[in-house]
Symmetry: C2
Subunit: 346 residues, 2 copies
């Protein structure tokens, strides 16, 4: 609550409020001499410029973009996840280009956050319920949904996870691998789950739709080599579960190649391999999904899929800033070959 307001400086400078307002918002409209007088008065009174609250009511631009956290995440969760962090960074790049602030809206506040956040548009980081979308739609703010396509009336940016999964498995197949194991994503807390070979994969064998697409990509590549995903031992676990890697090694001792749906899990596989004295990539090849700096610094550096998270965030934000009619974009991920994969040796 600045104590001095526009009318005070107007009075002090001997002009009307309108003119004083123009000095701050449309300086070109005011004769330099008068302008300086107003500016001097403002300085003398310690006036900082128009109160953002009041200016907002009339001119209505927040100059900020809101990124709504994935379901149940708070602000800190959004900031703690390295993959999500790359996505945020992409949004940030577009903000910098537009000179806008980035506001992280926790999903925890639910509809209240959508209704009251001071932003010009929303990006939905990872959606579980469409209710939020409807709320946002009613605020008539531009918005885009990421990772999921809720239909032609909404803008969306997705990455073709099926293609990513396919590329990962194809790479291993090309290296001659035929005995696989899969570390799948469990998107809610819970103990690792073993899905033994030889039985059909239930629909929830992977976490989110994106994860299911990765699995589908694996399956397609394997099928081309005459293998069935149903015969590949799988463990499904949250990405930070410390025991999943061990469970997978125990369940699939004969595997020469491991496909993991997350980077963090893939890195924990590397660690577990070291513990068991299994040489990567000489005896075992590992491919992760998504790329974060850890994947470059771990030992050996991880072959993984570049999930294009930065690009995804940047494009989503650009679409929000553009305020146009709905666009539905799909990006194609790329394989990054590092040192955790090699031709099969047995």
């Amino acid at each position: 609550m600045p104590l001095v307001k526009l009318i005070d400086v107007a009075k002090a400078a001997g002009v009307s409020r309108g003119t004083a307002s123009n000095v701050f918002n449309n300086p070109d409209l005011v004769r330099p001499q008068l302008r300086e007088k107003v500016e001097a008065a403002a300085r003398a009174l310690g006036y900082l410029g128009p109160d953002p609250k009041a200016r907002l009511l009339r001119s209505g631009k927040f100059n900020a973009i809101g990124v709504v956290s994935p379901a149940d995440w708070g602000v800190a969760d959004s900031l703690a996840n390295p993959v999500y962090g790359k996505f945020l960074r992409g949004v940030g790049e577009a903000c910098d280009a537009a000179g806008a602030n980035l506001v992280i809206v926790p999903d925890k506040t639910r509809s209240a956050g959508i209704r009251t956040s001071l932003v010009d548009g929303f990006i939905f980081g990872r959606l579980e319920h469409l209710d939020q979308l409807r709320m946002a739609k009613m605020r008539r703010l531009p918005m885009v949904v990421v990772d999921v396509d809720p239909g032609p009336e909404f803008s969306s940016v997705r990455v073709d996870a099926r293609a990513g999964g396919y590329a990962a498995a194809r790479h291993l197949l090309d290296l001659g691998h035929r005995r696989f194991a899969v570390l799948s994503f469990l998107r809610h807390a819970g103990p690792p789950r073993l899905l033994p070979a030889g039985q059909p994969r239930p629909p929830d064998a992977a976490g989110m739709p994106t994860d299911q697409e990765k699995l589908q990509g694996y399956a397609e590549a394997l099928a081309e080599a005459g293998l069935s995903i149903d015969d590949v031992p799988m463990v499904q676990a949250p990405p930070d579960d410390p025991s999943a890697a061990a469970m997978l090694f125990d369940a699939a001792p004969e595997a020469t190649a491991i496909l993991s749906m997350s980077v963090m899990q893939a890195i924990s596989v590397l660690t577990e391999a070291r513990r068991r004295n299994i040489k990567v990539p000489a005896q075992l090849s590992v491919v992760g999904y998504n790329d974060i700096t850890d994947a470059k610094h771990c030992s050996p550096p991880l072959t993984t899929i570049d999930g294009l998270n930065v690009e995804k965030g940047r494009l989503a934000a650009e679409i929000v800033f553009a305020k146009g009619s709905p666009r539905r974009e799909v990006l194609s991920p790329r394989l990054i070959i590092r040192a955790s994969t090699a031709p099969v040796s047995r």
Copy 2:
């Protein structure tokens, strides 16, 4: 711009604007029966609740905290730096506790960002000019400065970097090391700079005041062992410079212990050592500064200082939310011993 406003639903429900407002803001004040009538009207008209812009003007809480980026950084820079990311995460934790949004205010927008950002308070992530502080002060918003103490009229949260530097050097000294090299921080872009042994360290031998404190901590510990920091070869480089580690190895081939002011630099030392076939920690010990996940996953896992970035962010945000009189806090960093340090062997 929602088309339907409070007065429309008030009319439709046959009540006054004030009552309709109460339904949304103070439901307890309105008879349930009437309330339902208003709510029904709101639903029927597709009214989402009071326009945040207008409500703001009267009630004035943004429900958000602004984190102003370090000098010259944009939003994306803030999100790309892993150490700064931990700090942001700490702020996020406090936001979650308070149910507030976190808004990243790029320093690039300068005073405009401070003047117009829609936040209830500011955290200054890393300050170069005090102008911004003065601006913010004029907005009469609670704020805290991090990493630097601008005096008793401002709240500040610092980490005792001198103590951190001391602990790092002390640890190496305790392991018997006597031949050191230092990888120092250059906070602006530029080629690595060699500061050979045997000459006094210029004041800018380290980047920011915090970095200079680290250096001072190194120097104090060394002095206790009868060594002068002036006799320790130093290279000063930006944390992402790829050639700094090599330059340091060349300049100090006889060193058995390397002190680095950043984690990323320390990790690059590990990589360079591997390239040169120098065994860490058997032949060379390395201590970094600050802890990020890479430091745990690199090989060998890095001994480093926990710079308490998360705690720093959390405490800073708590001080902002508390809106009290200025507090000046200093946190004490801790040494994290992992596998990159060992007793000296020669």
